[in-house]
């Protein structure tokens, strides 16, 4: 269970996952934020009003997946690094997962990295297709990973080969 291990259960995830139908229509964000904590920057960062207004700062974020276009703005403002963008329309058998990342060195576009799941286990390989960084992002970079489609709901981190 999440409160014991830090790993959300499939039931937790099912609650916040965009629908199959929505996933089939392009990039969309998923907020893996399961606890009522006093926090709301995600809401303020979304320019499309896709994150529903918080009546109380302790509410959990609710993304309107219809309004969300997967732009990824909220990823860099979330202090919990809990929001990810998934694009299952990336190619026939690959999906794109955008991951907020705060470790150095940054990977380089084209790198093949170990794809890691929520429990910290390597589940396959991924290719780094884009590294978004810069002063404006203030240290929270966004790494675009190309992963096998069946792993798009598994991969949430990566390890660079040869870097501990």
């Amino acid at each position: 269970m999440l409160a014991q291990t830090g790993v959300p259960t499939p039931e937790d995830l099912a609650e916040v996952m965009p629908s199959e139908d929505r996933l089939a229509r392009g990039p969309v964000a998923m907020a893996e934020c399961f606890q009522n904590i006093p926090c709301d920057p995600c809401y303020h960062s979304c320019k499309r009003q896709a994150i529903k207004p918080f009546n109380d700062i302790n509410e959990r974020p609710q993304i309107d997946h219809e309004k969300c276009n997967g732009c990824g703005l909220c990823l860099t403002r979330c202090p919990g690094l809990a929001i990810f963008v998934i694009d299952q329309t990336y190619s026939e058998n690959k999906a794109l997962v955008k991951i907020p990342y705060e470790f150095l060195p940054l990977p380089v576009e084209g790198d093949i990295v170990d794809a890691v799941n929520r429990a910290g286990e390597t589940v396959g390989e991924a290719k780094v297709v884009k590294v978004q960084s810069g002063d404006k992002m203030d240290g929270t970079n966004v790494i675009w990973l190309e992963v096998p489609k069946n792993l798009s709901m598994e991969v949430r981190h990566f390890r660079q080969k040869g870097v501990r």
């Binding site: 830090g6 606890q35 709301d40 910290g120 203030d138």
Partner: protein, 358 residues
Amino acid sequence: MRQTEICIIGGGPAGLTAALKAAALGAEVTLVDRNDYLGGQLIKQTHRFFGSKEQRASERGISIAKELADAVESNKKINVLKKATALGYYKDGVLLVEQDEKIIKIKPKKLIVATGGAEKTLLFPNNDLPGIYGAGAVQTLVNVFGVKPGNKVLMVGAGNIGVIVSYQLLQAGVEVAAIIEAAPQIGSYWVHASKVVRAGVPIYTRHTIKRAWGDTEVEGATIVELDDNWQPIEGSEKDLDVDVICLSVGLSPLTELLWQAGCQMKYVPELGGHVPLRNENLETTVPGIYTAGDAAGIEEASAAMMEGALAGINAAHSLGYDAPDLNKQKEKILMELTGLRSGPVGEKIRRGLAKVTC
């Protein structure tokens, strides 16, 4: 003897905000901090903060510290004494401060104590070996001085501080073997926990440290599982090969000056230890002495800033300073503070505050 209208002890988020608010109302302020920098705990917090937009959520602690410190240092109404330790407060209302090996006597009309907290420790065999640190100390080493405490760490305590410092150790290239937590649940915000777990650090709840190993420094640790009554389960011991043990088992308020001033104190576990009784204006039972931030009860920086703002406004107001929107300002802060503490993670704080607010 120096005279000042308001003396604030502590230049963390609470003290800095108190100074800015009091000065904004027109009061003349002296701010005392024992460090050679302002910002308190914030200057080592490289992570983005939680909280509301008004309270600078999503900004990093270090950026908030810099902003507040710059505003204080450039404010002509505020006289800052750095590397200055408040040593004692006496019945005649005189505060003794040591700076550059000299004693300064200050006689303030009002005093705000915002001294923050100190790390607690744990009892276990060999807990005095070099290589055993408080988590806050490790955070200072790594984030302020750029020094690695070692190569492989066992973190004891899965509250926000333990988990955040583990994350920052990973960022500094230090391996974290595990985070252990005696309670059946992770105490930190779960998003923080998920962040370190996916980076490869396991969290073991219902576990504690049994002993540390090593002759002259830490060479390992034995951890053990706990049963429903928090008793070690025999045979469940595990040895971990680590060279650093980091204790993150809570903070307790730094209240010596409040004791000395004769403020009525109460032991409130929810707030981290002994804290002063206070009214809604954050004034203690000794008239003219206010408190704010972790010194008033261990909480977090957003709350510390709001409490500091309230204490600053109230202290200045009691000296006759006023503003047309003073009540509005106070109400707004009180509302935000209530909002911040209203959720399930604020339950403990609410329970604690109910015991000391009169």
